[in-house]
Amino acid sequence: MSGSGILLDVKGLRVSFSTPRGKVRAVSDASFSVRRGEVTGIVGESGSGKSVSAYAVLGLLAGNGRVEAGSAVFCGRDLLALGEKELRSVRGNEISMVFQDPMTALDPLFTVGSFLTEVLRSHSPQTGRKEAWKKSVEMLSVMGIRDPEDVMRRCPDSLSGGMCQRVMIAAALLCDPQLLIADEPTTALDVTIQEEILSLIQKLKEERGMSVLFITHDLGVVARLCDRVSVMYGGFVMESCSVDQVYSGAVHPYTKALLSAIPRLDDRGEEPLAALEGEPIDPVHLPEGCVFAPRCRYCFEDCLKTRPETFDLGDGHSAACHLLKKGGKADV
């Protein structure tokens, strides 16, 4: 399971939405990649553009959204250049997605069985009904559902949230995709159920060699699950590195701010947790310089004038911050 090759490579992604308030730049410059057999996390607060990036990759943006620039190379093809029909054969078949709120992600009027078999048969029409049913039942038991035959005959409103998320993951994995995009799959669930779903994803990664793009705002979950992390803020990727590097050698002030906002077990409670001052940026009026500059403790002249370029720090670690140009680390 050594990082053998890059499965999905997103470069310079830019997405905007036209709204009555003006053009909302949800993602201005996002580059991240997912390696085969690894879990890549995208971390950021709400409105940082993490989910939008994932939707853009699969061509699932709302009607007023538009990809303005960038590429998303998956198995030698640029997904952003594909037509709707080709994208449809990618969705669910090669790349699948799992959503935040499982209770609303399933069609309430269809039984789990008819939903799963439809997904399977839409990608391989030659599969017979019985075979599709059998495969779906198998997949549900892989998801750790005890009585899959019973669940197959039920409608989503009679299932619990955790159960719905398992069904959704089963649907996502039914056609054996190479990449699973998980968009905050545990946010809407109870803490105990969260843990079960995380273990499930962990198990899938280990047993099936599944690659996962895991979108979350929870750095704890990142430590638990991910191999690599990209930190996003205001539509820009701030820092990308391996999960160990985040906790041992993060360089970007924003990453550091996030880390210092997490309570630690070895903390005696002598110092208050450092909350990040200020408010998230308004995506209609992006500042001219670094988007994090207004909230950054280390902000200096350059930060307000120009956008920082991304510095490669070696070992797969990169960050976008003017402090790196000065040669020093952020802990000045």
Binding site: R91, N93, S96, M97, T104, L109, S122
Partner: protein, 311 residues
Amino acid sequence: MLGYFCKRILLIIPTVMAVILLVFVLMASLMGTDTSRMIRYEDDVYGAPRLSLLQQYGKYCYRVFVRGDFGVNDSYNSPLDEDLMKRTAVTLKMTGISVLATYFAGLPLGVFAACRRGRWQDSLITSLTTFFSALPSFCLALGLVLFFALRLGWVHVTLQDPADHIIPIATLAVIGAANVAKVTRAGMAEVLDKPFILSLRSLGLSRGSVIFRHALKSALIPAFSVFNTVCANLICGSIVVERFFNLRGLGTCIIGAVGSRATTTLMGCVTIVALIMSVCSVITDLLFVLVNPSLRKTLSFGSRLRRRGGR
């Protein structure tokens, strides 16, 4: 589920009986109508035997439900049922066809508008449906006659050929379709914003399947739950259309009965309309359950179908 619908069908009779009782009591108390006229036979030269109001009511209900006998025409002194049945058939044929046309035209229009939300096709359909559902039916009938009969000469104003009946049916269907399209559009637009549509798309289902198999199924619930109202509107419309085109249906019968104060005839018409609307309400429930499979298991003889609730 079978038990539930048996109950609903059995409930039709008490519902209609309640309507008859209401009209009976109101007629006797407010107008001082001699309700005994309603239970007399054509050869009762001396009028009906003296009975209390409740006895008269019981006798009327017995005749209507057991013998299908609606009494005697007040002005011609002849049995009413044959004429009423003929007229009911005319009205039912016309409204029945227009109900079908209403849904066959209204549903696609509503779906199309919702899929083109915010664009000109949507605003066009929305304006037209609002306009036509508000327009008095005789204005529409006049417009259609002026255009198709007098201008183009495709049909006769007097409706000589069976094919000419397309104009009254079209009048009703346009009004009904406008209603249905409005509701379908609203329902569909709401469904298309739901997260499960996104998750279905993310799983690579085709646009056709997402819109017509999944979204439409949810949108059919509001569209079918107005079936009752649509039928009520079409019955109203048929009164006007029958008068406009001089058709011998239930509507002209009601107008005539009101004009000549023919109490027995009016009572018969009210009974038949109550019966039709009760059947429509059962059909509404049936359609509702048809598109909502999760209800099927829970419905039993004693249960009630909840159709309301905040939108």
